[in-house]
């Protein structure tokens, strides 16, 4: 890259940052970020193809799903799973920090859950590696059998190779079982977290989650009952109005 190219890049980034920090609507900021990120991705992909470097990282699933890019911190997958009823916006501590502090106090059962989760995560990483490997083979086949080597075509090949590999592996029993184990162990961890919270709440005299659940359930039933009552009343009023109209 020449000095001039470098200067152009720096100017571009400066302008990009100014726009991101400006008062334009957030929808456009999000789009700009996405386009800039994906632009970088495809530029690197084309560069790697030209330089004949290893391409496997370009089909990395966690990265593709946004777990490791600048807008989504790597802990987002955890937050997404546990962020129920806006928990994360109400909590002053990050979920992963809470886990770290609670981890010492986890019961043997919770430690077991954590081990199962780690094991499923490791297995899933291996399967993601298989997807990348299969995608490379697909990609090589596609590029060898096609004379068009334009950027557009190469990007299309990248997409087709990735989706074909993912479609094939993600429907196999091994992938399905591992994904199930991953979700179940995450769920079990969540339950452990709730059990700890329940015990802690009890210690400091806060109402139990069961009490809260009973209250929300009663509120829900009350809402439904009221809506049914209102419906019956409105129906009767409507019938009476219709009868009055007919009499007139």
């Amino acid at each position: 890259m020449t000095h001039n190219d470098q200067q152009v890049n720096e100017d571009l980034m400066e302008r990009f940052s100014a726009l991101i920090n400006s008062s334009i609507p957030s929808e456009y900021k999000q789009l700009l970020n996405s386009f800039q990120e994906q632009g970088n991705f495809y530029t690197q992909l084309i560069q790697h193809i030209a330089d004949k470097k290893d391409l496997s990282s370009f089909w990395d699933i966690p990265n593709t799903l946004g777990f490791a890019n600048i807008n989504n911190k790597s802990d987002d997958w955890l937050t997404n799973f546990f962020d129920i009823n806006g928990y994360s916006t109400q909590s002053k501590q990050h979920i992963e920090n809470q886990f770290s502090s609670f981890q010492q106090k986890f019961s043997d059962h919770s430690q077991q859950n954590l081990k199962q989760f780690q094991s499923a995560l490791q297995k899933m990483s291996e399967l993601h590696g298989q997807i990348s490997q299969q995608a490379i083979e697909e990609f090589n086949q596609l590029t060898h059998s096609n004379s068009d080597q334009s950027n557009e075509k190469l990007c299309q090949h990248w997409l087709n190779a990735g989706e074909t590999a993912f479609n094939s592996i993600s429907q196999q029993p091994d992938y399905i079982t591992t994904q199930r184990q991953l979700f179940e162990s995450l769920g079990a961890l969540q339950t452990s977290n709730e059990t700890f919270y329940e015990q802690f709440s009890s210690l400091i005299g806060l109402p139990s989650t069961q009490t809260q659940a009973d209250l929300t359930k009663a509120l829900h039933e009350l809402r439904i009952e009221f809506a049914e009552y209102r419906e019956r009343t409105d129906e009767q009023l409507h019938t009476l109005q219709q009868q009055l109209k007919k009499r007139r």
Binding site: F16, L19, L32, E37, L159, G162, F166, R180, D234, H238
Partner: protein, 347 residues
């Protein structure tokens, strides 16, 4: 043979510059969504029942009630004027009503499928009947809203004149249903919790992971097309907003839906019960139009087409639409065919 030329310049750089030029000059306000004029005729907790303002055209007698899924927002049916299914129906003189489920909060986690179908939909149907002064209405259910509409029509057939299902799954274990494969054997007691809602982010992530490379990267690759046509950029912004604007799912209903539909396939196998009602699709007495998309990665055609086995042949029609799960009813290419089929069916 791989490309061998050395790349020194970012091929997306010029596009990004143009994109920033456009944004600086024109993007002062995000494009509006759901702009067809409407008024709320009924409120219940988070639910809103809307009646769209009729256009100056000869009005049809029977109203249509649109029932959308709990996942994502129903304004997709009125995303923008040129792609608005609602507006196109209004232009044909149909009185159009829409159920907006709203955004469930923590206090709604106990809302069940029974509540959605036998309470919310039922009350909306009776409200529409009263508002339009008719005894029967037409139902148009989309995706999960189509499943709810099928269940409702089987339970309360006397209220429904005609039923349209659009991209609606019936056989959840049909070939190519990746969501079903992934969820079929999950221990739902560990993953879902009826005391809490399911986060919209998690649902969004799940849908985006069905086609990870296309839905997370490739759609951002065609920047040039968007820059050259500002209208397309507006559509893209609206779609992105819709995709990222989904509600959380009420925990109880979400758990029931996974267990009864994705895992048990109860609707297709005739084992489904909602509240105290057993659902037998053969109880549907009205004419049914089943519209499915031939490139649907969420509801494979085979899943939607299974409806044929449950409806008496003289009452049943089906129509293939070109496109994917959403494109089938918002794409300019398919909307005309979709509308023609709907208007022909509703005559």
């Amino acid at each position: 043979m791989l490309a061998t030329e050395s790349i020194t310049k970012d091929p997306w750089q010029d596009d990004l510059v143009l994109f920033m030029d456009n944004i600086e000059t024109s993007a002062q306000q995000p494009p509006a969504v759901g702009t067809a004029p409407k008024s709320c005729i009924y409120k219940e907790n988070k639910l809103r029942l809307f009646r769209y303002e009729p256009l100056k055209t000869k009005q049809k007698r029977t109203p249509i009630l649109l029932v959308y899924a709990l996942v994502n927002r129903p304004y997709i049916t009125d995303l923008e004027p040129d792609r608005s299914l609602v507006l196109k129906l209004l232009k044909q003189g149909y009185p159009v009503y829409l159920i907006d489920w709203g955004y469930p909060d923590a206090s709604d986690c106990h809302t069940s499928l029974n509540d959605y179908i036998n309470s919310y939909i039922h009350r909306c149907v009776t409200r529409v009947c009263r508002d339009a002064n008719v005894k029967k209405i037409d139902l148009l259910g989309i995706c999960q809203g189509g499943v709810f509409s099928l269940c409702y029509s089987a339970i309360q057939p006397e209220h429904i004149r005609k039923l349209i299902t659009l991209v609606t799954p019936v056989d959840f274990h049909s070939e190519g249903n990746i969501l079903s494969l992934w969820t079929r054997n999950i221990d739902t007691r560990l993953v879902c919790n009826t005391k809490k809602n399911i986060s919209a982010n998690l649902i969004n992530q799940l849908f985006r992971s069905i086609k990870p490379y296309q839905l997370n990267r490739d759609k951002y690759r065609h920047l040039k097309k968007l820059i050259n046509k500002p209208v397309q950029l507006d559509t893209f912004v609206r779609m992105e907003k819709w995709l990222n604007n989904g509600p959380d799912l009420a925990g109880t209903a979400a758990l029931e839906f996974v267990q009864k539909f994705y895992q048990g396939n109860d609707l297709h196998t005739g084992k489904l019960s909602i509240g105290s009602h057993s659902i037998d699709l053969k109880n549907i007495k009205c004419q049914v139009l089943n519209l499915y998309a031939n490139n649907d990665h969420i509801v494979p055609p085979s899943s939607a087409l299974a409806l044929k086995k449950h409806i008496r042949s003289e009452l049943y029609q089906e129509q293939e639409l070109n496109g994917g799960h959403i494109g089938a009813f918002i794409s300019n290419n398919t909307q005309q065919a979709l509308l023609e089929k709907i208007t022909q069916f509703l005559k």
